[in-house]
């Protein structure tokens, strides 16, 4: 599968639909471009990295984030409202006992505003079908081997909610600043296919 979907049948179908909607006056192409541009510019995994670093250094923020992520995000100037509608976000915390991993088995739902554009493998039928039934094997393929005693919780973003994983803070990072901590986080860590 290629990263470039411009030549795919679905891309062609979207272009045709867009043209028909414009022709009928139901869609303003400039308005659509503005929304997409604004969204794409703001959507970056750096946002997710900041959220994680803040949660690692501020227990109060972490508690608010896990309780109601949509209400906590504005504390960092972020929101889930970058797209056409505000989406509900659940942040799920990794602990010594529990490891979380996210998937959308029905399509490829993903919190773009916090994680940036999703990787191709996240959208692949192989990942979407196998991570729900055999997460331990899938995580091992990503180089993440978890102890047998670690409980794996898979979250299927099959409806209206989106998920982000809060990874465990790495050892020996007590002296790092919040910005340095943010630099430790990876996109895969926010999906759950990496430890951090």
């Amino acid at each position: 599968m290629s990263d470039d979907h411009d030549d795919s049948p679905i891309a062609a179908r979207v272009r045709e639909l867009e043209a028909i909607l414009e022709e009928k006056g139901l869609l303003d192409a400039r308005e659509l471009d503005q929304v997409l541009e604004a969204f794409a510019h703001k959507a970056s995994p750096a946002n997710g990295f900041r959220v994680v670093a803040r949660a690692w250094v501020d227990d109060g923020f972490k508690a608010r984030l896990l309780e109601n992520a949509n209400e906590a995000l504005p504390e960092l100037g972020l929101s889930m409202g970058g797209g056409l509608q505000v989406q509900r976000l659940h942040v799920v915390e990794n602990t010594a006992q529990v490891h979380n991993v996210i998937v959308c088995t029905l399509c490829s739902c993903y919190p773009l505003s916090l994680l940036g554009p999703s990787p191709t493998w996240y959208k692949s039928p192989a990942y979407r079908s196998k991570v729900v039934s055999h997460p331990r094997e899938v995580l091992a393929q990503f180089g993440l081997t978890l102890p047998e005693s670690t409980e794996i919780q898979v979250w299927d973003a099959n409806a209206e909610s989106r998920y982000m994983v809060l990874p465990r803070r790495p050892a020996n990072t007590e002296d790092l600043t919040e910005a340095e901590l943010a630099a430790k986080v990876t996109r895969n860590g926010l999906i759950g296919t990496a430890a951090v």
């Binding site: 088995t105 919780q153 409806a159």
Partner: protein, 88 residues
């Protein structure tokens, strides 16, 4: 909107495989799980796809891998509209 189910309640998902769009994945049909929380009120996707807007309670429901796949020691949590659920 009053909630029919509450955290800790056992529920069983519908076995119906509808002709129209639905957000109940095939692997989670006819399975028993536990409600772990509310996931807000949202238009039922099955009707939205047919141009009808009918908001309905959505629940977070957790299933064991054993129940879903007959193997595995993990859990899978899904967001399920009330219409997809029945009492166990």
């Amino acid at each position: 909107m009053s909630e029919r189910y509450h955290p800790g309640d056992r529920v069983r998902t519908s076995t119906v495989d509808p002709d129209h769009h639905t957000r109940l994945p095939h692997y989670a049909r006819g399975k028993s799980g536990t409600v772990i929380g509310s996931d807000g009120v949202h238009p039922l996707a099955d009707l939205s796809a047919q141009g009808i807007e009918q908001p309905q309670q959505v629940y977070l429901v957790r299933f064991s891998a054993q129940e879903l796949f007959g193997q595995g020691d993990h859990t899978v949590t899904l967001s399920l509209w009330e219409d997809y659920l029945g009492d166990e």
